[in-house]
């Protein structure tokens, strides 16, 4: 085979990362969990949240977003998928072999990010669809029914944006975790960093003013992609929030690549 007939080096690196992912039990387990746990969590929460709106009055709960609450588990699993893609190799020392095979280190990092993104995107979207389909009947049982809560139109823009956006958010977090783990080099540090920067702003916001800031300008903003209605406690537009989280992801990835090129690779 002549060098010209080989695939481009960038594609070779992606293929190599794909072989690693498919060949290791850990990542396959994580994919299985990503497909099931968010669905179970959504079902559990929704089945225990009765409607408080008086019958007949138009309700203001975001019933679609409520069925997708399992994303809180989904992003944690996505963080694990992204973090282990780099972290496992840092721990075993195999990262040296990866960088020896591909001395242009950004290719290794981007290939890992691509494989983590592709797998979490497909499974993340499937998982959010399943969450809705499983949780919505349970939600009806809790009193979220017409006329207060008419059935969502499954082909409307906001509904599809919430379902697909939940998968996209999972993907962003997997890539964010690839970036953060490349920077800190250890899974055990990276996962808490990713989860804390992502979820803590939303949990700690006590006043409306802080809530407004966290929904607009922290990594937590991305969850607004799930919003399908207008509510007084929704402070960021769906795409605004998503783009903010995407920006944090980009910054993490760029910082990771620039660091990876400059520093010495440590033996395990």
């Amino acid at each position: 085979m002549t060098p010209n007939s080989r695939p481009h080096p960038r594609l070779r690196t992606v293929r190599a990362e794909w072989i690693k992912t498919v060949g290791s039990r850990g990542t396959l387990t994580a994919m299985g969990l990503l497909a099931t746990l968010p669905v179970g969590f959504s079902a559990l929460v929704v089945a225990n949240t009765p409607s408080t709106d008086p019958p007949g009055a138009p309700g203001d709960d975001d019933i679609v977003a409520n069925t997708l609450v399992g994303v809180l588990i989904g992003v944690v699993i996505a963080a694990v998928v992204g973090a282990t893609a780099i972290g496992n190799e840092e721990r075993s020392g195999m990262i040296s072999t990866s960088y020896t095979a591909t001395p242009r280190r950004h290719r290794v990092i981007l290939a890992k990010a691509s494989v983590a993104a592709a797998s979490t995107l497909i499974i993340g979207i499937a998982s959010s669809w399943a969450s809705y389909l499983v949780a919505r009947p349970l939600q009806r049982g809790q009193g979220y029914v017409a006329p207060s809560y008419p059935e969502p139109d499954l082909f409307s823009g906001p509904f599809l944006r919430a379902i697909v956006g939940t998968g996209l958010l999972t993907t962003l977090i997997a890539v964010y975790a690839v970036g953060i783990t490349t920077i800190v080099r250890r899974t055990s540090i990276a996962i808490p960093v990713v989860v804390a920067t992502l979820l803590l702003p939303g949990l700690l916001a006590t006043s409306d003013r802080i809530q407004q800031f966290t929904q607009r300008w922290t990594p937590f903003a991305g969850f607004s992609i799930q919003h399908t209605v207008q509510r007084p406690d929704y402070f960021a537009g769906p795409w605004h929030g998503f783009v903010v989280t995407a920006a944090y992801t980009t910054v993490a990835l760029v910082a990771a690549i620039s660091l990876a090129h400059r520093r010495d690779i440590r033996p395990a």
Binding site: R12, A16, G23, T100, A101, A268
Partner: protein
């Protein structure tokens, strides 16, 4: 008049082997490598010998572009590692045989490496047989013995059929049968004209394999000579010293020994 084109052309050719040029590496105030210069020419097995922590692994990691030198450089067939196109086909390396994700099978490990290096996947199974891992190929590396990991590491180094090889302590953990296997392999690689650099902290391991010995001690080259001249250079030529004796003499009184 004859124009002397041949010498002029030859000087422009890249050096085919591996060249360490005035390599210095500092970690903070610690000087790990101090002006290390030596070459690994084709068709020889060059042994890099020194006590633990003497700088063997650090020089190899710099050669492979994994660490950057504070001064100097290493040229692989005349080029810096990071400028190599398809590096696995130019230089093969075994640094730390245990540095493999334990969840991968031996075969999967070689398959991803072949994919990354643009190497035919068919070579993977042939190599696994060649290094004696045919039956263990589909088992996870986490369950391999150190000797089996060394064999897998050697297979990874040979994957791209490279003309230059860097093997860091490849005999660690090999059983006697493995030792015999590796010695034969090293001699074959030399006879095929490859440039082979093998490190060890045990001089005895290298007897019968190495053509040249580079002794590194506290980050400096303490000796760089052919096996024959090292043994000849003994003060009491009456009884031939073992390599071990010569090595101990060199590292205890670090005077330069040159061929």
């Amino acid at each position: 008049m004859a124009v002397p084109t041949v010498p002029a052309m030859r000087s422009n050719l890249p050096q085919p082997g591996l060249t360490f040029e005035a390599l210095t590496k500092r970690f903070g105030t610690v000087v790990a490598l101090d002006d290390v210069t030596f070459t690994v020419p084709p068709g020889t097995v060059t042994a890099l010998v020194g006590p633990n922590g003497s700088g063997k692994t650090t020089s190899m990691r710099i050669a492979l572009g994994l660490a950057s030198p504070s001064a100097g450089r290493v040229l692989v067939a005349g080029q810096l590692y990071r400028h190599l196109d398809a590096p696995l086909t130019r230089i093969g390396s075994l640094l730390d045989a245990t540095a493999v994700n334990p969840g991968l099978t031996g075969r999967t490990h070689l398959r991803w490496l072949a994919a990354a290096g643009g190497i035919r996947a068919a070579r993977v199974d042939a190599l696994l047989e060649q290094v004696g891992l045919g039956t263990a190929a589909r088992r996870r590396v986490g369950g391999y013995s150190l000797g089996m990991k060394q064999r897998l590491g050697v297979a990874a180094a040979l994957l791209g059929d490279p003309p230059i090889l860097i093997l860091d302590e490849p005999m660690n953990g090999l059983d006697p049968e493995g030792m015999v296997w590796f010695r034969r392999l090293a001699r074959n690689l030399r006879d095929e004209g490859r440039a082979v650099l093998v490190s060890s902290h045990l001089m005895r391991e290298l007897e019968g394999i190495a053509d040249r010995v580079v002794v590194i001690h506290r980050g400096r080259i303490a000796a760089d000579a052919s096996i024959a001249s090292l043994l000849m250079g003994s003060p009491d030529a009456a009884d031939r010293p073992s390599l071990e004796d010569v090595y101990l003499r060199v590292v205890t009184s670090p005077e330069e020994v040159r061929p």
